[in-house]
Structure formats: structure tokens, C-alpha cells
């Protein structure tokens, strides 16, 4: 029998919200550990740090996790406080576009020229 209520994205989102949080926790601790042990303090140091394949991939994974995490979080906030449907949908679209923009921007920073 079909469940008559619900949009059915709740449990999946709830779980992914936590999974992405764990990814970002691990990245934050890892990045802090690298900065504290290597204390980069010049352009060449920072450049070298982000040219390491693993650091780049981990950073990209962080931004992908952040995109999803922030989408769920901002949507929850908007659903709680913005009750006018049209305005809420417009804000959700704006949040989604902003997050996609952040994602593309972070990829271009990590892999782009220069």
C-alpha cells in the first residue's frame, strides 16, 4: 500500500545531512593538522599544499558535502520561517543557484589556471 503522506525525502536527507557533517568534520581536523604541522606562510607553501592530489580531492569532497549540507539546512530554515509559498520557493531557488555557483567556483580555484 502506498504511504498517503509525506514527500519521502525526509529520511534520506536526514541521513545525508549527518554523513556530510562527518565528512566536513574529518576535513576540518585534517586541514588544521596540516596547517599546524607544516605552517605554510608563503604563496609557494600554500600553492604546494593545494597542489597535492589528495588535498585537492579532499577539498573538493568537502565542498560537495557542504553543498548538500547547506542545501538541507537552508531549506529547513526557510520552511520554518518563510510561510509564503512563492517567496519561499524563490529563496530556495536562490540558495540552490548560490550553492551551485560556490561549487563551480571552488572547482575552478582548485583546478583552474594560475
Amino acid at each position: 500500500m502506498k504511504n498517503p503522506v509525506g514527500a519521502h525525502y525526509g529520511l534520506g536527507d536526514w541521513l545525508l545531512q549527518r554523513l556530510t557533517a562527518v565528512v566536513m568534520l574529518a576535513y576540518t581536523i585534517g586541514l588544521l593538522a596540516i596547517v599546524v604541522t607544516h605552517h605554510p606562510d608563503s604563496y609557494a607553501d600554500w600553492k604546494r599544499m593545494f597542489s597535492v592530489g589528495f588535498v585537492r580531492l579532499a577539498t573538493m569532497l568537502f565542498f560537495i558535502a557542504l553543498l548538500y549540507h547547506a542545501w538541507v539546512g537552508m531549506r529547513d530554515i526557510l520552511m520554518d520561517y518563510v510561510h509564503a509559498t512563492g517567496l519561499r520557493l524563490a529563496l530556495q531557488v536562490a540558495v540552490g543557484l548560490a550553492l551551485l555557483f560556490y561549487l563551480v567556483w571552488s572547482a575552478s580555484i582548485l583546478w583552474g589556471p594560475g
Binding site: R18, A21, V22, L25, T28, S42, Y43, W46, K47, F50, L66, A70, G73, M74, I77, V95, A98, L99, Y102, W105, S106, I109, G114
Partner: protein, 128 residues
């Protein structure tokens, strides 16, 4: 005849100053999350973009971050991130049914605020 019923509360006091620690933590978790999404994240991406883009951009970022007002703002950002970070860990533990009773959940909420401030102080010490 039964005793007169207890007086009902007229309203719930939602004043932030009267919220118990877990409530305050929850509100700050939301506020910090929203602020991190905008405007902090695009700001940090721009700094990363400049700083990793060229030697000249890196020098501009270093000069910018050297201003005392900017350092102070950065400390505020660090606090928002640290609070969101530790409050998030607390929620993950609550999801695993660790510390869900009233007393430990209040203690852990206070611990989140303390850890957030300690982490921010450590970053401040590193900045100055």
C-alpha cells in the same frame, strides 16, 4: 470536590535570555549555519581565489588579513564555525542516543559553548 486546577501558563517565554542552554545552542546552530552559507562562504572563497591565484593576490590577502578590524571579523567567523562544529558533534552524539537525558544534554550544551570559545581563543592566539 477536587482541588482547583493549577494555573495554566499564560505564554511560553521565548526570550533568548531565558532559554535553557540546549535551546540557545540550537538557535545559534541555525544562525551560524545561515551566516556561514552567506556571506561568509563566498567571502572565504574569494580569499582562496585571490590567495591561490597569484603571488600578487597572495600579498593582497596577507595585507588585508593584517588589519586589526579584519582580524576581529575573522575571529567572529572562527567562532561561528567552531560553534557550528561542536554543536554538530553534539547532535551526532544525541542521534546515537548518547546524553539524551535532560541533565547531560544541558551539560553538553554548555560544554559546546565553552569549547567554541576556547577554540576561538586558540585561533585568536595564533592570529596575534
Amino acid at each position: 470536590m477536587s482541588a482547583a486546577p493549577k494555573p495554566r501558563p499564560k505564554y511560553y517565554d521565548l526570550n533568548l535570555a531565558h532559554l535553557p542552554a540546549p535551546g540557545l545552542l540550537s538557535i545559534f546552530h541555525r544562525v551560524s549555519g545561515a551566516l556561514l552559507f552567506f556571506p561568509i562562504l563566498p567571502g572565504l572563497l574569494y580569499i582562496l581565489h585571490l590567495g591561490l591565484g597569484s603571488e600578487d593576490g597572495y600579498a593582497r590577502v596577507v595585507a588585508f588579513l593584517g588589519h586589526p578590524a579584519v582580524k576581529l571579523a575573522f575571529l567572529g567567523i572562527a567562532w561561528l564555525y567552531a560553534h557550528h562544529f561542536f554543536a554538530g558533534i553534539r547532535y551526532l552524539l544525541l542521534d546515537l542516543h548518547i546524553g539524551i537525558e535532560k541533565a547531560p544534554s544541558r551539560t553538553s550544551a554548555i560544554a559546546v559553548f565553552v569549547l567554541g570559545i576556547v577554540a576561538t581563543a586558540a585561533i585568536g592566539w595564533w592570529l596575534w
